[in-house]
Symmetry: C2
Subunit: 472 residues, 2 copies
């Protein structure tokens, strides 16, 4: 089970002479040698050892291997399953009507309105009040227009609708930040003008990479705004930190990951729609139509657990695809320097820590443009926190209910359930137990909400089939 | 998706005054704020971030959940499967004959022979040569006697045989270390006596925990030797580091883990014997009886991958059960202080690192009692390393072939295959890629060897059934 002699630790023995009879060569027997000492095993929490990078690689290897096996098995049994037409049909019902893509193209109008308003504000043509009004109207339309389109146009698929609404939500947050930062710049200029003590131009920060740094009115350009709109961040800055150059190897690795993960996500979607729902959901739905006392709880828990693990894997892959591969790919392409898209939420020992660290762009936006301004306006900490939480729950519901065209508040309630959960975990669990509780809430909590939506969606859209036992 | 305001990082914004018009409150807009900076994502290898303790907890949660699901499913489908009689039948064929247990009891004789010889040597009654001869005979018998017993007594089951041979192998390594260390002590005393410059008694090291420390002839006592035999180490020391007290909470946690993992391992063994072998192995064995050109390679690879993942999980659970739970349990019970039973082999970036770090007791023994003595006798480094490697391959084969009563050299060849693998990984792969390669060799390499043995064992013991298609 071992070991050439290239041990990385200096064993005391190696310091002794090779002649066994020379004086002093047996000292190591009578003092405790360096390699025997009072110490804990690495896996004991008392050891404080935390380097488990290898476990992450293990997860990736296992994931690739299990999928290679499933792929091979599917291939042997059914031939190639992923049909390009099926993939396209996720986004399009009618190949001659591209509502989601049209929506995304139309969004440019709102970007231009925001830029035009800011330019007029900078020139003083618009008063601050008029500018704010136009911005508010613009931002309201950004939220309402795609919602109404998705609800009214029947050819929008749920995936296409979610994509369009997601894009518009991101744009909403970005333009809100754009408006705020530009207003702050103007206020600063006014302060300076009143003080008359310094030059009127905003000072440029020292340029780290030799790029030209812009100051306030100079930033109101197409290029600057479109860079912000494309960049993987929600918080506007006049000058973003930039990386030195585009690393082609890094770019290609992220591209390779994105393609692989996309294939995986598509395949999983098709598996869910054509296999999991008919085989697993229909019996659950049928049994849930019976009166409550007839329900077989141990069977329902078994079904829930059976769905929880694949659902969790999908979420993890989605996280990696979106927050690591895609965002890093875009950032590398744009030489966008700040790659902190997530922190180490996998070590979360409390629910709060998880929510603060898994989605850094949104977290930063909320702190800068929602929580801190509320505090400055005199709101209490608790009120501000609750407001952030409600806004977040609202957007969750918005992004799920509208594309599915049903208003059930499961996502909203899922977010609200985090509050007692956070209290419970913070109150009773610490360290690795707290971490395990956070994982458990992720693994079990999500599929409950997902099951609710799938259940209701299926009941609404396929009630006839579900009621007909021949369809099973 | 977010975030109360209890962000752990000090955002620059929070340092500004709450009055938006006061001079200087917008500084954060013009210098790069602390929370926007050139930085890599944590999952990028360039970030250098390695704290993935949470991923380990995730693995445990997932393992427990998947098994809870499987358990519930099995319970719903078949009722309780693990039958105490089946568990006992792993170790016993005939309930009135306990060959493996008898073997373990008999092993006390060899311990007493070693102690008696060392006492005579200390008193000078035996010459060094005679003592060495008796030790060599004793150690040879320790290896040969259980082997012959297992091969000759038909009522020894493979599991019982492996257990008995494992115990004897551990005893062999321990008594070898005992003999060496006592000889070194005598040599040191002679050196001192010749030098006449110091006192004749061995110096005692400073006592850390107030326990009495023994010096050379004083260590030749029953209690001292039996403590060493029971302690989770293979390298003898006159005085082991001791922990202050037995922590009951720690002890109970390890006991709880041991019981759970034992149940899991037994259940898996039963699943393998009664479900995997008939369902998966028999078709493979049948297809492997056809001429080579008829074999369906993609199907064979699919079968191999299907077995690889559960086999790997069993190995991981076995590792945790043996090296963490059991050894820590025994160590806590004996207040044995040195808990370094493994190092961070999960981060291995080369095959060498893995073999040096996954089994520390054996690794330390090999360095101290085999590799270094060979070097001191003038052997070259390469020769010594190869000798260690051959000895290790020999013991692997010994522990597998004898209990199964078939000599196939698959384990021996598996060990030897590590040499070209180590060269390949060390030569071409670095960092996370090297780590992934080590994991892959563990996940894929092991089941190949296991399949070979299972295949041959099945062909020998169940050839009639396998040849009869009605048995499927």
């Amino acid at each position: 089970m071992i070991h050439t002699g290239r041990g990385r630790e200096a064993f005391t023995l190696s310091q002794t002479s090779l002649n066994p009879v020379s004086q002093g060569s047996f000292n190591f027997l009578f003092k405790l040698p360096k390699y025997i000492s009072l110490q804990e095993s690495l896996l004991s929490s008392a050891s404080g050892f935390k380097n488990y990078r290898g476990i992450l690689n293990w997860c990736v290897v296992m994931l690739v291997l299990s999928n290679a096996r499933l792929f091979l098995e599917n291939l042997l049994r059914y031939g190639i399953l992923v049909d390009p037409i099926q993939v396209v049909s996720l986004f399009l019902k009618d190949p001659y009507s591209w509502p989601a893509a049209c929506l995304v193209i139309v969004s440019n109008v709102f970007i231009l309105v925001a830029l035009y308003t800011e330019r007029k504000l900078a020139m003083g043509t618009f008063s601050e009040k008029l500018g704010l009004l136009i911005h508010i109207i613009n931002l309201t339309v950004i939220l309402c227009f795609p919602m109404l389109t998705v609800l009214m146009v029947p050819s929008v698929t749920p995936v296409g609708g979610a994509f369009a609404l997601g894009s518009y939500t991101i744009l909403f947050l970005k333009l809100y930040s754009y408006k705020d930062v530009n207003r702050w710049c103007r206020e600063r200029l006014q302060v300076k003008a009143r003080g008359l003590s310094r030059s009127l131009s905003c000072p440029s920060p020292p340029s780290a990479d030799g790029a030209v740094h812009v100051s306030y009115p100079g930033n109101l350009a197409f290029k600057n705004l479109y860079y912000f709109v494309s960049a993987p961040t929600l918080c506007y800055e006049l000058n973003f930190p930039r990386s030195q150059s585009v690393r082609m190897g890094f770019l290609l690795r992220r591209l390779f990951e994105m393609v692989g993960e996309n294939l995986f996500l598509f395949r999983s979607h098709i598996l869910v729609v054509f296999s999991v729902v008919p085989q697993w959901m229909v019996p659950i739905i049928q049994s849930s139509m019976k009166p409550l006392q007839d329900m077989d709880y141990s069977r329902m828990i078994e079904r829930l657990l059976r769905l929880a693990v694949p659902n969790h894997f999908l979420w993890l892959i989605f996280f990696y695809w979106f927050f690591h591969s895609s965002m890093n790919f875009v950032a590398e392409l744009l030489r966008f320097g700040d790659r902190e898209f997530y922190r180490d939420w996998w070590n979360s020992e409390s629910v709060t820590y998880f929510w603060q660290n898994w989605n850094i762009p949104v977290h930063k936006w909320c702190i800068r443009h929602f929580y801190k301004p509320l505090l400055r306006k005199g709101a209490s900490k608790l009120l501000s926190q609750s407001a952030v939480f409600f806004a977040s729950a609202f957007f969750h519901e918005y992004l799920v209910s509208v594309p599915l065209r049903m208003f059930r508040l499961w996502a909203f309630m899922g977010m609200m359930a985090q509050l007692p959960l956070a209290w419970f975990v913070g109150r009773f669990l610490r360290g690795n137990y707290g971490n395990a509780a956070v994982w458990l809430s992720l693994i079990i909590g999500q599929p409950i909400a997902v099951l609710m939506y799938v259940h209701d969606y299926y009941v609404i859209n396929h009630l006839e089939e579900a009621a007909d036992p021949g369809a099973l």
